[in-house]
């Protein structure tokens, strides 16, 4: 049953990708094709990275409402990138290849998020709502700090990082895309290798320890993977807060199983499918540019309210 759904999702992704690539292909065919395939790979990588990161984060934080984006991971990435511009200087920054910038920011990001979120997640006994609210406010703080720092630096330097502030699926640097794909593949392979450990961790810390899983070290490892995945998606297109939540909620509904192997594949397929179809509709049918992320914010926010309020109405 679940396998049939998996197959259907996979087929849908392939079909929509082909549609995205070839529909209305005319004129300077090769050029447009190249452009489109780059965009397609970006959409799939980002959709997959956001979704897989969300499932992982929900497993190690033992709930289904928190996502890395809600907890301020994206905002942290952008803050670090802004700080880096200040430290290196705008002129030097412009000289650096995008891929080096990306790797540098990612390395710092992994360290910073490990420190911050392990601190938050290990505060035993804190109520989930405290955790979410603290995460949301951390996100706001990071955002305010970012815009504060951006105001401090030269207007010309400011323009350089402004593009990272909003999600856009437009042009993406080729080298960054290749590096992102490689990191994404490595991360998913690693996660797959220990997916049965994730199954046990989903039972909660107490159970996992009793069954002999060293919970803390796996939590740390998972946090590293999550940070890397967030780096990929934020570096490529910018922050999208609620995509992860939309996808993970759907994933649990569709999967009908708690096995992480299935959860991870389904969430990857769904996330990619979501972005590819969404982008096709917005770009080709409605001829709108880059409003997809706003629509995701809107419906994702609604879903979040529903998830929080549902418990009350049940």
């Amino acid at each position: 049953m679940a396998n049939a759904r998996l197959f259907l999702l996979g087929a849908a992704l392939i079909l929509s990708s082909l549609f995205f690539l070839f529909w209305g292909l005319s004129g300077n065919t090769w050029f447009i094709f190249e452009l489109r395939s780059k965009k397609l790979i970006t959409l799939i990588t980002v959709g997959g990275a956001v979704s897989v990161a969300t499932i992982l984060f929900q497993t190690i934080s033992a709930n289904r409402i928190l996502t890395p984006a809600i907890m301020g991971f994206d905002a942290l990435y952008i803050l670090l990138q802004t700080l880096l511009v200040v430290v290196i200087g705008g002129a030097n920054w412009a000289l650096l290849p995008d891929s080096i910038v990306f790797l540098l920011t990612s390395a710092i990001m992994v360290g910073a998020s490990l420190l911050l979120y392990q601190f938050l997640l290990q505060k035993d006994g804190r109520h989930l709502h405290v955790l979410i609210l603290v995460g949301v406010i951390f996100g706001l703080l990071f955002r305010s700090l970012t815009s504060f720092i951006q105001r401090l630096i030269d207007p010309s330097e400011f323009a350089m990082i402004q593009s990272t502030m909003f999600a856009s699926f437009g042009s993406v640097d080729e080298n960054s895309l290749i590096i992102s794909c490689i990191i994404f593949l490595l991360c998913t392979l690693l996660v797959f290798k220990y997916s049965t450990f994730l199954d046990v961790m989903a039972l909660g810390k107490q159970m996992a320890v009793s069954l002999g899983v060293s919970y803390i070290s796996f939590q740390r490892l998972t946090l590293v993977v999550i940070s890397l995945l967030v780096c990929i998606s934020t570096a490529l297109v910018g922050p999208i807060t609620f995509l992860g939540l939309l996808v993970s909620a759907l994933t649990y509904k569709i999967a009908g199983s708690l096995e992480h192997k299935k959860l991870l594949i389904i969430s990857f397929l769904l996330g990619a499918l979501f972005l590819v179809i969404g982008q096709t509709i917005f770009e080709r049918l409605l001829r709108l540019q880059s409003t997809l992320s706003i629509v995701i914010e809107f419906f994702g926010g609604m879903l979040f309210l529903y998830l929080v309020l549902r418990k009350r109405f049940k």
Binding site: T196, L203, S210, L211, G212
Partner: protein, 251 residues
């Protein structure tokens, strides 16, 4: 046998346990009793390595918690989860299969599957195996958690206040079940328990804790007396006899 050697534990600046030394004999039921805040659950969580042991040593059948890896310990000791904090959208058969994790690391072979089947039969869960955990009653959920620990095939079972939220009938049924496990399957069971009368009726061995220190430890019929309970809980107690042992009247 579990040996607890000079164990101390602090939370922040507060001493929760101070120089606790005790032995818990194998086979049979050991009850840890004491007033609220005495450190009972902390001691149990230290034994089950849920809380990291910093000061002193605990050995389970000769293996020190300090030098034995957590997955090796999972073959010796199992924790029966409290009925909170476990993912609820999980099927009973999946939950029990997780008991085989320490042996199979997630890849169940035929032998593992047999044990899971046997555990479901032993605890009368076959008809419920495709239900989700949150569709069961409190008593049924308790049985599912015990079945899971049973499938883990460890010599030791730890339970933290298992009688919470159970009515008289289900509390009795649970204690019966545990007694059977101890007698028929030679399991060694350690539990934190609130009601001294349950400890008096069902446990073979009893440890009394107060303010993080051991007040008494020994065979239940020897140590659980009106006097020791009075001292432990600061209430007046009289002893009523019954065919099955003593009842401590503190009402």
């Amino acid at each position: 046998m579990i040996t607890i050697n000079n164990v101390s534990h602090k939370i922040g600046a507060n001493d929760i346990l101070t120089n606790v030394t005790a032995e818990i004999p194998a086979n049979g039921i050991t009850a840890i009793v004491g007033p609220n805040g005495a450190g009972k659950s902390t001691l149990l969580n230290l034994i089950g390595r849920q809380t990291t042991l910093n000061d002193g040593d605990i050995q389970i059948d000769g293996s020190s918690l300090h030098s034995t890896s957590t997955d090796k310990l999972a073959l010796k000791i199992a924790l029966v989860a409290q009925d909170v904090g476990v993912a609820s959208r999980i099927k009973i058969k999946e939950l029990i299969a997780f008991g085989r994790w320490p042996h199979s690391k997630g890849r169940l072979n035929d032998f593992d599957k047999e044990i899971v089947e046997a555990a479901m039969e032993r605890f009368d869960l076959v008809d419920l195996k495709d239900r989700f955990l949150d569709q069961l009653s409190g008593g049924q959920r308790q049985r599912a958690f015990i079945a899971m620990a049973f499938a883990q095939e460890t010599d030791w079972l730890l339970l933290d206040e298992p009688l919470n939220n159970l009515d008289m009938f289900h509390a009795r049924a649970l204690m019966n079940e545990l007694k059977l496990l101890a007698v028929e399957n030679q399991k060694s069971i350690v539990m934190v328990i609130h009601d001294v009368n349950y400890a008096a009726r069902w446990s073979d061995y009893c440890i009394g804790l107060d303010f993080g220190k051991i007040k008494f430890a020994g065979a239940t019929q020897d140590v659980l007396t009106a006097k020791s309970v009075e001292q432990l809980f600061q209430v007046n107690v009289s002893v009523l006899g019954s065919p099955n042992g003593i009842i401590l009247d503190h009402y």
